[in-house]
């Protein structure tokens, strides 16, 4: 955590800030979703509460907070009340391990712009986000209602099926970069395309050194699997209204239901962040390395602190732009594609994505072995 009190305090505040950032991004995301989906569907979204309807979510939050706190008669109280709280835990723990910018160097201290830096970053993130299935199971069972149970079984089956495709699609990237650490993966994707093959170094000045140019199939499989992990359309039969009322959160109302959605948006943010770290260079700027940016900042100011702050801010901005773009793609796809049927979904996960991800892994391993 740090050597002296100042560093420990700053790191603790950083943990809290990252959690708050994730939770506070949810109202903004919901506003973007409601206005964006309205734009796609050729109607207005919320535009009465506050300028451009921005305060709509605040009004919604106040409304939800003042609603009656009820539980069904036969509900199992501990599970029923624990499930929404548990919904926040996997997304928060995993999101705190995502590096969002270059470490900040101020006066001898080095502060990383992430909650904690795990050397086995991606294994930890996959492990913790796989605990999200328990939220669904606890909510479905604790509600003591047939709709909830059916929805919970279907949703958790979907989640664990696509976890496999998710993990396997990443193995190719791990083989390529040779590390689990997310910061090292980002550092390996700096600058322009260059790799070693048969003793020669192949470079190109037009293509950035991003993971997507090395592993396009893995990128497609990974992105599709993240839709399934966060129960977003086209994989959202867990909440399919016409089919099973509202699935595992049928019996929830008020703020407890909102917590489920905070968890779902948290998983969306996690998937978006992982997508850009693996395949789009993380916080790096395309064609430009971190050193180039640092030298440009050195041209602007003299003190080392300001240079470091400027570099960190520039890279944070780059991360945020890519992050917001992928979140918009999540929202865009939701209102573009229809929902999958359950058997189509299972077929896709087990019979299509898993073999393709396995084939990608084998092919990547073969290619890496042959060209080095």
């Amino acid at each position: 955590m740090g050597q002296d009190v100042f560093e420990i305090t700053v790191n603790c505040i950083k943990l809290v800030l990252i959690f708050l950032m994730m939770v506070q991004a949810v109202p903004i995301l919901v506003w973007v979703e409601r206005r964006g989906s309205a734009f796609i569907q050729n109607r207005f979204g919320p535009n009465r509460v506050g300028p451009l309807g921005l305060l709509q979510l605040l009004a919604d939050a106040v409304k939800f907070l003042t609603k009656e706190d009820f539980a069904p008669d036969k509900a199992i109280r501990p599970l029923f009340y624990a499930a929404p709280i548990f919904a926040l835990i996997p997304a928060t723990l995993a999101f705190a391990a995502i590096p969002m910018s270059v470490p900040l160097e101020i006066g001898g201290y080095v502060f990383k712009i992430q909650g904690y830096d795990m050397n086995v970053g991606i294994v930890f993130i996959l492990g913790v986000s796989s605990l999200a299935a328990y939220t669904i199971l606890m909510a479905g069972w604790g509600s003591a209602s047939k709709f909830s149970l059916l929805g919970a079984l279907r949703a958790s089956a979907q989640v664990i099926s696509y976890e496999l495709a998710l993990g396997l699609s990443i193995v190719g990237i791990i083989l390529l970069f040779g590390t689990f650490n997310l910061t090292e993966m980002i550092n390996a994707q700096q600058g322009t395309l260059s790799f070693k093959a048969f003793g020669h170094t192949v470079t190109s000045a037009y293509i950035p050194n991003w993971g997507i140019f090395y592993q396009p199939l893995a990128a497609i499989i990974f992105f599709a699997a993240t839709f399934a992990e966060s129960n977003r359309l086209p994989f959202d039969l867990a909440e399919g209204e016409a089919e099973i009322v509202a699935g595992f959160h049928t019996e929830y109302g008020g703020f407890k239901m909102l917590m489920f959605f905070i968890g779902e948006y948290g998983h969306m943010m996690l998937g978006s962040a992982l997508m850009i770290i693996f395949f789009f260079g993380g916080y790096g700027i395309p064609w430009v390395t971190v050193e180039d940016v640092r030298q440009w900042a050195a041209g602007l100011s003299e003190s080392a602190t300001t240079i470091s702050v400027i570099t960190t801010l520039v890279h944070f901005l780059s991360f945020m732009i890519k992050f917001v773009f992928f979140l918009w793609v999540f929202i865009w796809v939701r209102w573009t594609l229809p929902r999958f049927r359950y058997d189509q979904l299972m077929d896709l996960g087990w019979k299509t994505m898993l073999p393709w991800a396995l084939g990608n892994t084998i092919l990547t391993a073969l290619v890496i072995y042959l060209i080095s």
Partner: protein, 188 residues
Amino acid sequence: MTPDVFLFWFLALLIIGSGLAVLLFTNPIYSALSLAMTMVGVAAIFITLHAYFIAGVQLIVYAGAVMVLFVMVLMLFDIKAEIQAFSSGKISGAIKLISVGLLSGLIVGGIIMGQKSFVGELSKDAVQVAEAQKVKKSTSPDAATKELGMVLFSKHIFGFEALGVLLTVIAVGTVALARSRGGTHHAK
């Protein structure tokens, strides 16, 4: 009370408590959820022992997949019949206590017999070699993962493949058993 000590005792109590809860809950769903908590606790202990990769894989495989499947399958059973079938008479309680006593006696005996002061002269060389290897081992987490991979796929390749075959046999056998008793599809 250093953080390490506090963390170890907290996690140990958590794991033992969850393990006991697995046995003592009559509702199978609670048992399964307590087992999941035990797995998460074991992963936490792995982290305190600096085995980060194993901790992550434990979370992914055990807590994230195996226990979820357990809980899912349990939700399809008739819980009232399961709760009534939970035996709690005096004879069965005595049998349970006796078997727990036997098992703990075995474990304690195994620990005592494995200690250095008890081991005979012939095994002293083996102990020395093991100590020398412990000093040589590098401590960075990347090297630990890499070493684990190298050893697993070279020296223990037979055990690895045998485990894979065993799991396949289990899966095929379960499906065969389910089909021979009618299964979920009615014979035409």
